[in-house]
C-alpha cells in the first residue's frame, strides 16, 4: 500500500549518510547518529554540508527514495533520482493537454479557486474563534468576504492571464489579513506581518512560510514523480527551464491548509519564539538551527494527522494528500475522470 512514509531531514552540518544493507546510516565524525530502514522512507532531504555515499544514492534511486540537496537555509539545489518513472503515454498526454489553452484555463481556474477557498477557510477558522470585541475579527471577516468575491470572479475568468491576475489580487487580500491570524502572544510585535517577502524573507513569519513552502515543494515533486507525471510541465505555472511548474501547481491548493496554518500554530503555541530568528545586516531574516529543527519536527508530526479526503471519501493522512492529488491529476490526464478535482478544506 502506498502509505505515508517518513522523510528523513538531515540538518547536522558535516553529517555523512551511508548505506548498510537495506538501511541508511547517519554518521557525524566517528559518531553514529542513527540507522533507518530504507523501505520506511519516501525521501531524504539534506540541508547544507551533508554527504551521501554513492552506494546510498544508488540504493535510493533503485527504491524510488527521492534525495534532495538544499542549501543550509533550505533553498533547493538538486535532487538525485533513478530512471524517469511512469508511463510515457501519460507524459505524452500531459504535454498534449498542457498545450491546449482551453484545458489549461479550466484546470488553472479550478486550482486557483481551491487555493482562494482554502485561504478563505483559514481566515474564517480564526475569525470564528475570535470574541465579539476582538479587533482581529473585522479584518479577517472582510478579507474573507473579498476572497469569496474573487471566487465568483474566477468562475467567469475566460483567460489564464485573467486567472493569474485574480490570484494575485486574492493573495493581496489574504496576506493583508494575515497578521490577524496571530494570537496576542508575548512577543507579538516581533512577529508582525506586513507583506509577503520571499527573496529574502524580511520578517520571521515570511521566513517560516517560505521554509514550509520549500518542504511542500519537495513533497509535491516526489508525488509527481511517483505517479509518473513530469513535475516540470504545469498548467497555471508557465514552463521555464528548471522550474517545477506542475509541483508548484499542486501546492497552490494546500499552501494555506498545510503550511500557513502550521506556521501560525507554531507561533501561537509558542513552539517558536522571536529569539529563534536571526536578522542579517540587510534585513534578511533567517531561522536558527533550533527553530529549523522545531519546524521540521512539527511538519512531520502534522503529516501524520488523519483526514477524510473530500473527493475519495476515504480516511487518509495529511502526508498522503499531495500524493493523492497527484494521483488524481494523473487519473484525469489518463481519462479516468473528466475533470481534476483540487483539494477543498472544509474548515
Amino acid at each position: 500500500m502506498k502509505t505515508h512514509l517518513n522523510t528523513l531531514y538531515i540538518t547536522t552540518q558535516g553529517a555523512y549518510l551511508g548505506r548498510q544493507g537495506e538501511a541508511v546510516v547517519v554518521r557525524c565524525g566517528k559518531q553514529t547518529l542513527g540507522h533507518l530502514p530504507l523501505h520506511n522512507l519516501a525521501g531524504i532531504v539534506c540541508f547544507g554540508r551533508v554527504g551521501c555515499s554513492p552506494a546510498l544514492l544508488g540504493a535510493c534511486a533503485e527504491k524510488g527514495v527521492a534525495v534532495s540537496l538544499l542549501t543550509e537555509r533550505g533553498r533547493f539545489l538538486a535532487s538525485v533520482r533513478g530512471f524517469t518513472s511512469g508511463n510515457v503515454l501519460l507524459r505524452r498526454a500531459q504535454y498534449k493537454i498542457a498545450d491546449d489553452p482551453g484545458v489549461v484555463l479550466d484546470v488553472s481556474r479550478r486550482i486557483v479557486m481551491a487555493k482562494v477557498a482554502n485561504s478563505r477557510s483559514v481566515l474564517l477558522r480564526t475569525a470564528r474563534d475570535c470574541d465579539a470585541d476582538d479587533p482581529r475579527g473585522a479584518p479577517l471577516d472582510s478579507a474573507a468576504g473579498r476572497l469569496g468575491a474573487s471566487i465568483h470572479e474566477l468562475r467567469q475568468a475566460d483567460a489564464v492571464n485573467k486567472v493569474r491576475g485574480l490570484e494575485g489580487e486574492a493573495a493581496t487580500h489574504y496576506f493583508g489579513a494575515f497578521d490577524a491570524l496571530l494570537s496576542p502572544v508575548p512577543d507579538r510585535d516581533a512577529f508582525r506581518f506586513v507583506r509577503r517577502s520571499r527573496r529574502p524573507p524580511l520578517d520571521p513569519i515570511n521566513a517560516l512560510i517560505s521554509f514550509l513552502y520549500t518542504l511542500l515543494l519537495h513533497d509535491a515533486r516526489s508525488a509527481c514523480e511517483s505517479v509518473g507525471l513530469d513535475p516540470a510541465v504545469g498548467f497555471l505555472h508557465a514552463d521555464r527551464p528548471g522550474k517545477p511548474s506542475l509541483a508548484l501547481d499542486l501546492i497552490e491548493e494546500v499552501r494555506a491548509f498545510l503550511a500557513d496554518r502550521l506556521a501560525f500554530s507554531l507561533i501561537n503555541r509558542r513552539q517558536v519564539a522571536a529569539g529563534g530568528f536571526v536578522v542579517r545586516d540587510n534585513g534578511a531574516v533567517e531561522m536558527d538551527d533550533g527553530t529549523r529543527k522545531v519546524v521540521l519536527a512539527a511538519y512531520q508530526q502534522r503529516k501524520r494527522d488523519t483526514i477524510t479526503h473530500p473527493v475519495l471519501d476515504e480516511a487518509t493522512t495529511v502526508g498522503m494528500l499531495l500524493h493523492l492529488q497527484a494521483a488524481l491529476m494523473a487519473r484525469w490526464i489518463r481519462g479516468d475522470i473528466d475533470a481534476y478535482p483540487p483539494f477543498l478544506w472544509k474548515g
Binding site: 518513472s85 508511463n87 474564517l124 470564528r128 479577517l140 471519501d313 489518463r334 475522470i337 483540487p342
Partner: protein, 220 residues
C-alpha cells in the same frame, strides 16, 4: 512470433489474473508500490535466485535461470529448474511463493508459462512442475495439463492485447482492492463515484461559500 524486444514479463500474468487494471497500472502506466506482501515476496525471490546452482546424485538444480518464449512473447526468471539424471528424465521448474496455495489459477499459470518457455528453449516437453509455499512449507506438484496450457496461452494473448492497447481499464472495486499495493495510485472507487456524479467541484465550492459553519462571514 515475437521479437526479443516485445517480450513481456511472466510475472505480468499474475497481475492480469488478479486484476486487469492492476496489470495495466504496472505494465502500461509503469507504477509500482510496495507493501508488506510484495516486499516479503521480493526478499524471498532474491534469496531463491542468489544461491549457486548445485549438483547432486539425483541431478542438477539451476537457480535464477532466465527463460523466454518467442512464440508466446514472454520472458522471466525461474526460481529453480531441476534437471534430473537420466536420458529422458524430466526437467522440473520449481517456483517459491511466500504465502499458501490460492484458490485461483495464478500460481499454476505462472509456473506453466515458465514451463512453456523451457519447452521452447529445450525443444522437449515438460510434464510437471512444483510450487513451494512458504506458509505451509509444502511442495505442490502441478501437472501441465492441456487445460492449464490453454489457460496460460489465453492469458498471455490477453496480456499482449492489454499492453499493446496502452489503455488502463476502469476499476472493478472489490475485496481484493484492500490487499492491493497500488490502491492509492489506482483510486478504485473513483470511477464509480464520479460516474454517479457524487462529487462536483462547483457544488462543493458553492456549499463552502454558503457554509453555515462560518457565522462570522459578512459578505461574499
Amino acid at each position: 512470433m515475437f521479437s526479443e524486444d516485445n517480450l513481456l514479463p511472466i510475472s505480468a500474468l499474475q497481475h492480469l489474473l488478479y486484476c486487469d487494471r492492476q496489470c495495466a497500472l504496472i505494465h502500461v502506466e509503469r507504477l509500482w508500490a510496495e507493501n508488506r506482501f510484495t516486499a516479503e515476496g521480493g526478499i524471498l525471490h532474491r534469496r531463491a535466485h542468489s544461491g549457486k546452482s548445485d549438483t547432486r546424485p539425483a541431478g542438477r538444480s539451476a537457480r535464477g535461470l532466465p527463460v523466454r518464449s518467442l512464440t508466446l512473447g514472454l520472458f522471466g526468471v525461474a526460481d529453480v529448474v531441476r534437471y534430473e539424471k537420466g536420458a529422458d528424465a524430466p526437467i522440473v521448474p520449481v517456483e517459491y511463493k511466500r504465502g499458501r496455495p490460492k484458490k485461483n489459477d495464478c500460481d499454476r499459470v505462472q509456473l506453466c508459462a515458465q514451463a512453456l518457455c523451457l519447452e521452447e528453449m529445450h525443444g522437449r516437453d515438460l510434464p510437471f512442475g512444483e510450487i513451494f509455499y512458504g506458509k505451509t512449507k509444502r511442495r505442490v506438484r502441478v501437472e501441465f495439463t492441456p487445460d492449464l496450457r490453454r489457460t496460460t496461452i489465453d492469458a498471455t494473448a490477453r496480456l499482449h492485447d492489454l499492453v499493446r492497447s496502452g489503455r488502463t481499464p476502469p476499476a472493478d472495486p472489490g475485496p481484493k482492492c484492500d490487499r492491493c499495493s497500488l490502491r492509492e495510485l489506482c483510486l478504485p472507487r473513483l470511477g464509480g463515484r464520479v460516474a454517479r456524479k457524487a462529487y462536483s467541484f462547483d457544488r462543493e465550492i458553492d456549499a463552502l461559500l454558503a457554509s453555515p459553519s462560518f457565522p462570522g462571514e459578512t459578505s461574499s
